[in-house]
Subunit: 132 residues, 2 copies
DNA sequence: CTTGACCTTGGAGTGGACTCCAAGGTTTAT
DNA sequence: ATAAACCTTGGAGTCCACTCCAAGGTCAAG
């Protein structure tokens, strides 16, 4: 299939696919006599893999490394486990941080309808001498 | 005080402060006869405000708008409430998404030491025909 | 006085993941 | 045949929040 078809099959743009190829995520594809890229169905799979990994928050660099290991025919489970473990720890940290922030902001929002502007809880959020 | 002193007082770099001024977050400061920027203590407060709002995930553009309202002498509580409400909704969404992701990744990690590579749960994460 | 730290300006660079542009060739449907 | 959609390449632009560079002036301590 051609790049437009691959793009449609994966909800990506042709430019993005060309970008991925340049970034080393996709191998150089076969070409038509006119120089057009010619992809097989395995390219759809590969892009789905990339998209799945992106959903998990992996950067393209990480995904490229995983793909490189996979392409050698060796088992990518250990590197995948390493990446997943790292990502899990990052996610836990991120969730914790967001929950703290959420609590702070909810508290600020609760305090807003008060006669005075709220105390600057997370820093000088709103200047205390300002009266609402 | 001079820009270096203001930077030290706020843990920002002089370049960042100059950047904020250019981005409209800080008013043009007074100058020394040599052309150096001269700040009063209110600049520290203003930068603390900015830093606090950034911690909440607000972009500089949003903070600039809030500051502009504040600078007119009107009460910024309603715009702040709007921003906070919006940010709360965004945070809730983000937390939910991260928690779903976390669960998926934990499940994938649990499945990894199995004899076969796990089924591609979030998409073709790992090609099923690959055996570990 | 000397030297090093500090300051100025305009503008370019960084990171990461795309997206757009220009110029021109190819394919497909009417 | 024609026109529009599709494709190619190299390279620049976008987003956002900084950070760095170059060239030169100013300040403060020794």
């Amino acid at each position: 299939m051609r790049i437009g078809e691959l793009a449609a099959a994966t909800s990506l743009s042709p430019d993005t696919i060309r970008y991925y190829e340049k970034a080393g995520l996709l191998p150089d594809p076969a070409r038509t006599p006119a120089g057009y890229r010619a992809y097989g169905p395995e390219a759809v799979d590969r892009l789905h893999f990339i998209q799945g990994a992106q959903r998990l928050g992996l950067r393209l660099e990480d995904i490229r490394n995983l793909l490189a290991i996979r392409d050698t025919g060796t088992c990518p489970c250990e590197p995948a486990a390493d990446l997943l473990t790292r990502r899990l720890a990052e996610l836990d940290e991120k969730i914790r941080h967001l929950e703290v922030l959420r609590a702070e902001m909810a508290a600020m929002l609760d305090a807003l309808p008060a006669e005075d502007c709220p105390q600057p809880t997370p820093g000088t959020w709103l200047t205390p001498e300002r009266r609402c």
